[in-house]
Amino acid sequence: MTNTIADIEEADVILITGSNTTENHPVISSFVKRAVTRRGAKLIVVDPRRIKLAEFSEKWLRPNLGTDVAWLNGLMHVIIKEELYDKAFVEKRTEGFDALKAAVEKFTPEHVTEITGIPARDIVEAARIYAGAKAASILYCMGITQHTTGTDNVKSLANLAMLCGNIGIPGGGVNPLRGQNNVQGACDMGGLPNVFSGYQPVNDPGNISKMEKAWGVTGLSDKPGLTVTEMVPMAHKGEFKAMYIIGENPLVSDADLNHAEASFSQLDFLVVQDIFMTETAKTADVVLPSCCFAEKDGTFSNTERRVQRVRKAVEPPGDVWEDWRITAEIASRMGYDMGFENAEAVFAEIAMVTPSYGGITWERIDREGLHWPCPSTDHPGTPILHTETFPIGRGKFFPIAFIPPAEITDDEYPLYMTTGRVLYHYHTGTMTRKTEGLNERSPESFVEISKADAAKYDLKDGDRVKVASRRGEIEVVLSVSDKAVDGTVFIPFHFAEAAANRLTNSALDPVSKIPEFKVCAVKISKAA
């Protein structure tokens, strides 16, 4: 997030898109709801489902799946045409305005209606509300990123925020809500193929020699590596030999699961390190048991870049180790002694080689976490990014063209399907499904459908149905719901036995390599 969670309550207008916040980030949703009910902020929800937050909104816009660039360009079209944008900000802090203006020129409200299904009047009104705010915050989540155009969607949101001067101010910002607890940290730490910790590119010779010196090694590769979504097809072709998977369960979370399963079985050697025997662990050659969060010391970085302490509270069951210790022990058996005594020593090295974490120590975050960038031990941390300048100087507008989703409906597969989470479960369910109460509230997978669609296919609430896409099929219970809109169904992805990702499309965004989880075409019929 460019801004903090607490900062949401400072906004006059909040635009939420592709985030079912009450179910996925419940505590953040309370900040949003309080802003609306107690401070009179106006909420605009743009989501294909009638999510809970729509009840709190001034406007709920319902775009067809995969048409986000179109409505965003539509908003900007109106804002530019009616001269509602922040001229001073555009002038002083940005570049590329003319190109943006040209790109959104043809996205008249009427044209946008054709693509997105959102009434033209709503586009105009939403644009005026957003542009009229002193400070407007944008919140988004996987509903924006998990598309073949995910990167374009995110750039479009940034365009909109810059256009109205909503960057670098309290109550503003472009705020991605991170799904898993430490996605932010995994990225910050260099758990990415192209950067060391702190986003230091691996193809920069300066960074290579700095790390070689810090680590006491030679021969670091300056060739950016493969993303997980690229590794899987490599494995499929037999070009990938070994994988070491730590705490992840790609055999439920991967798009086009059937293909992923076949790919993993091609590996010569697979090591999985986890707290449970997950679907992925079952296919491993060696399984290494690790501590869960309550059994170890360390830090997580949350979605607002706040680095916070994790503390050991209980002894682990059996003979189970911390993840970092297992990794270090493998390394030393391969001839490289990492030499850390405890997790705090690891953190000290992180701070040493990672400028944005440079000023953070465990002692400083003992009571409350700090926001990076925090370059020195007397730096207070950075709650709001880009207050004076952007890292690259001026903020750049990217003209973005609309590209339709990779898969569209046809006579055989007439319904759109999108995926997501439910309140009571988390990710692939390996943790939440071990709590009876959570299972009691949400026992099994379901497909959510509108009343009209249910009637059209002659289906009743509670029916067992077969949902099939071009890649696979699953059996689930039908749930007729007001949240669903005609023509689009929703399936949560927590349930391994009816994994939504047997259906989803693994077509990737060309830049982020994120699969298009949020759109595919399906058909539904009563289960035999």
């Binding site: 060696v286 390996t430 509230r441």
Partner: protein
């Protein structure tokens, strides 16, 4: 007299705009007891425990709702104040099953009362929040018992039909904090005051069970309840505050990173509370963070390394497993090159774990094939 100051118990204190007497006092370390007051919510002034004497005012004033006005002279523990508080506390104690031994036991009435309470709650223990109750603390502080008034009978049966929260109406003092927690803080709007006068009850819409209402089981109301009326089902009667160790940590579910206080007994997490007064969540949690901790002690946890042989796992020691992994990784790296290998690290493990995973991929396997599953 200075324009922007008030006198509390003889201390001259500067006031800040729009501050209540309570806020001025607390900011300056003067303790005024409260019961219905809930930080961050809209004050209701319902319980009158926080009353103070303001010179020249006609009656005692609730400190939690009365704005601090320049020139006020306030006494927070005058005899009149103490008397009023005692009566308020006595009334609350006599309404319902407050069997925390603060009654006079010499008349023998406690015994019959206790038997009744035990029947209602089906236990022979004292109140489940004994030692962790704000009403009990007040009764002790002001030395009052529950016998001053005729005790009123509980009208509503306990609600135990959901997996997470027990609603014990016999111990509800109708302070309204749960309602504020649900409506003002979490804005789930699931509960409110229902019925009037002596029939009053906190109800979920249409007086339904929580499980059939809009309740999302965030447990904010449980954390807000000052007494034993709302208690987590799992740990009801399972712990006492002096037996549990508390450890502050960060939630391991979503990216909000809520701060949690784990309550530990016998190496088991037995209760989770939101850590008050620290960002980002200021004590709030959701159902996963508060109630989704069973996985920690699940019997399905992996407890030893496993090596697959002929398609079947067998248990192995760390030495054997680590040596095997190191040997195979080294062989593959040396025959096929590091770029034929990959590491998937995790959005679930710590920064320290992640940092070493990438250091291992880059420094030992000599490849940048390192990623995590956040794209998925």
């Amino acid at each position: 007299m200075d324009e922007k100051t008030i006198l509390i118990n003889g201390n001259r204190l500067t006031i800040q705009p729009e501050e209540t007497i309570l806020e001025t006092a607390r900011r300056n370390g003067i303790d005024i007891p409260t019961l219905c007051h809930l930080k961050g919510a809209i004050p209701t002034g319902a319980c009158r425990i926080c009353v103070v004497e303001v010179e020249k005012a006609r009656a005692l004033m609730p400190a939690c709702t009365t704005p601090a006005q320049p020139g006020m002279v306030v006494h927070t523990e005058s005899p009149e104040v103490v008397n009023s508080r005692r009566i308020s506390i006595e009334l609350l104690l006599s309404s319902g099953n407050h069997n925390c031994s603060v009654r006079k036991s010499d008349t023998g009435s406690f015994t019959s009362f206790q038997l009744e309470v035990q029947k209602y709650d089906n236990t022979d223990d004292l109140c489940p929040v004994w030692g962790d109750c704000e009403l009990q603390d007040l009764a002790y502080r002001y030395q009052v018992s529950g016998e001053a008034f005729e005790s009123t009978k509980t009208k509503y049966p306990m609600e135990t039909v959901n997996p997470f929260i027990v609603r014990d109406f016999s111990r509800c003092i109708l302070c309204g904090r749960c309602v504020q927690a649900c409506n003002d803080i979490q804005v789930n709007n699931a509960i409110s005051f229902g019925y009037r006068g002596s029939e009053a009850k906190i109800v979920a819409s249409g007086d339904r069970a929580l499980k059939d209402s809009d309740c999302v089981f965030c447990g904010e109301c449980v954390q807000a309840c000052p007494v034993g009326a709302l208690v987590e089902k799992e740990c009801r009667y399972a712990w006492r505050p002096w037996e549990a160790r508390k450890v502050k940590t960060t939630c391991s579910y979503c990216g909000v990173g809520c701060q949690l206080t784990l309550h530990i007994m016998d190496n088991q997490v037995i209760k989770v509370a939101g850590t008050e007064d620290v960002a980002p969540n200021n004590g709030s949690l959701c159902v996963k963070g508060r109630f989704g901790y069973s996985f920690i002690h699940s019997p399905e946890r992996l407890t030893t390394p496993l090596i697959k042989e002929n398609g079947k796992f067998r248990e192995a020691g760390w030495e054997e497993a680590l040596n095997l992994v190191a040997k195979r990784f080294a062989e593959i790296r040396d025959t096929h090159g590091g770029d034929s290998m990959g590491v998937l690290t995790s959005a679930r493990v710590t920064n320290e774990d992640n940092y070493l995973a990438q250091k291992f991929a880059r420094g030992v396997l000599k490849t940048n094939n390192i990623d995590h599953c956040a794209r998925l």
